[in-house]
């Protein structure tokens, strides 16, 4: 899923300061699952904003709503009536959701309440980690199902650097060394010989380096 963090309240107040009437919109997809932009978080953030602005003598009118899928025009267009009655939309979806609203409501201010960070998953109570970099050219078949592009701090393709120690990455004791994990998996899968082969330079043109990606299925076009 897409992982995000909520922006600090002070930043949210700064970017919304010009607007009196706000529509706070959550999303029932990824950001609900990673507990940052669902109906509950919409209610909590809206209350926090109301209280903070009230205390500062600048009360705001805040409308709460959580859409089914903010990256989908079908659900975003349903927001039209609510959007017509506010000065700005504060989106609690990922960056895709924010931009979907912006695209479909060209004359409405849409502001992000979240910092979208990564594609990842929940690994334990309250912990989410990045596991895919969306590079457009998946090599998981060669790396035991563990992605070094996303999970190695240097996106190395030929094994661990010299900073790998006790299964950890040199950048932080909170970050496992992806190549130590790959080594362990390859060992279990009896595929260590593959780690003796040189992986050639990666073609990054399928990643963002090649420009914004666009997928076209001609058979689905009208």
């Amino acid at each position: 899923m897409i992982i995000a963090d909520q922006k600090p309240l002070a930043e949210i107040r700064r970017i919304t300061s010009r607007f009196q009437k706000l529509l706070v919109v959550g999303c029932q997809e990824c950001v609900t699952v990673c507990c940052v932009g669902g109906a509950k978080e919409v209610a909590v953030l809206s209350s926090a904003l109301r209280m903070a602005e009230q205390i500062d003598g600048n009360p705001k009118e805040i409308v709460e709503f959580t859409s089914v899928r903010q990256c989908d025009p079908e659900y975003v267009l349903d927001l039209a009536d609510k959007i017509a009655r506010v000065d700005a939309v504060l989106s609690m979806a990922c960056g895709v959701g924010v931009q979907t609203i912006a695209e479909h409501f060209p004359s409405v201010h849409v502001l992000p309440a979240l910092n979208t960070t990564s594609f990842g998953r929940n690994t334990g109570p309250g912990v989410w980690v990045e596991t895919c970099a969306g590079c457009g050219n998946c090599i998981l078949a060669e790396t035991g199902g563990i992605c070094p592009v996303a999970r190695c701090s240097k996106s190395l393709l030929n094994g661990p650097c010299g900073g790998s120690h006790k299964g950890l990455c040199e950048i932080s004791d909170d970050v496992p060394c992806a190549w130590a994990q790959i080594y362990e998996r390859m060992s279990r899968l009896e595929m260590l010989a593959a780690m003796e082969q040189i992986a050639p330079p990666k073609d990054w043109s399928t990643a963002l380096d090649g420009g914004p990606r666009r997928r076209v299925r001609e058979d689905m076009q009208l």
Partner: protein, 318 residues
């Protein structure tokens, strides 16, 4: 192994003599005199001197620029090139220039993560990793081809090296990774600083079992420690370093005012110990910001004077 580019380092190693390399850390400024002064301290005491490439991700004068200044002072530089700051376009471009300027040794590195440096908010590159970098440079030199496959009329000439950390994990993979770098084209290696000689010896056993010591020259990395505090810090805080308690205790037991002398003695002992290990072709002395320690270490270890080999015929066109 036959001579490829004829750098002094390559010729010393090829002659079978125990090689000595050192390091010169360029300044955090545009002052050429810092490089000149350090180069004068090192000249004649090492067969070649690594010029670090923004080590620990702290901005310094570039390796190629400082290397050229050092060369003017009579040093033979080993240019360092990391994958952190440059993509394949920038690396190849810089290497063409380095070769055109007469720099003949190159050490290919992954590079420290920028989190450790003075610009932790920077974007990193890592378009290539160190193994792919080695392979690209060898193809440039030997096949006269850019990474994309296009030909070039005049190839860059480098004696190509790489690094290995025998103390990194997984330990069982470290000799295999060395083999991978040799397969990619690495001709010499400089290792991470060795304080745990016993573990290094075990790693060399694995290297010899794979026959790798006969395919590339391995220079054992060593470095003098200045204080007991520095030893403790390296033991406890620096990822990828293995400093046994005995070394820390030896530094802590030095008489007042004698820590530096003890640090030099520890280093000489390590040089003497690694020299006995089959397959070790030389030492790489890392005494950054303590360059004046190098002549003393080389002399105390009985490695002075350094061999003076006849200049070879120039290599490469132009």
């Amino acid at each position: 192994m036959t001579i490829k580019v004829g750098s002094n380092l390559e010729r010393v190693l090829e002659s079978g003599q125990f090689a000595v390399t050192a390091e010169l850390g360029p300044p955090k400024s545009a002052d050429p005199n810092v490089v000149r002064e350090k180069a004068r301290l090192l000249a004649g005491h090492a067969d070649a001197v690594n010029i670090t490439d923004n080590q620990t991700a702290i901005v310094r004068m570039s390796s190629i620029g400082a290397g050229l200044i050092a060369m003017q002072e009579g040093l033979e530089p080993v240019i360092q090139m990391t994958c952190r700051d440059r993509n394949r376009i920038a690396i190849q471009s810089d290497l063409l220039a380095a070769s055109a300027l007469g720099l003949r040794n190159l050490l290919c590195l992954t590079g420290d993560h920028q989190r450790f440096g003075n610009h932790p908010q920077s974007k990193n590159v890592f378009d290539l990793d160190s193994i792919q970098l080695v392979q690209m440079v060898r193809n440039m030199r030997d096949e006269q081809r850019f990474q994309c496959g296009e030909d070039m009329p005049v190839a860059p000439q480098f004696f190509v090296g790489a690094a290995e950390n025998p103390f990194g994990d997984p330990f069982e993979y470290r000799a295999i990774r060395l083999g991978k770098k040799i397969a990619a084209g690495a001709e010499f290696f400089q290792t991470q600083m060795i304080y745990n000689v016993e573990k290094f010896a075990r790693w060399m056993e694995m290297v010899r079992a794979l026959g790798l010591h006969k395919k590339a020259y391995i220079l054992a990395g060593v470095g003098p420690i200045k204080t007991a505090g520095a030893a403790r810090y390296m033991r406890d805080k620096v990822p990828g370093m293995d400093v046994p308690d005995a070394i820390v205790e030896r530094m802590a037991g030095a008489p007042k005012g004698g820590a530096k002398a003890e640090g030099l003695k520890v280093c000489v002992d390590i040089i003497n110990a690694v020299r006995q290990i089959e397959g070790v072709a030389g030492v790489h002395i890392m005494a950054i910001e303590w360059e004046e320690a190098v002549p003393e270490l080389v002399a105390q270890a009985g490695l002075a004077p350094r061999p003076k080999l006849a200049q070879p015929a120039p290599v490469g066109a132009g």
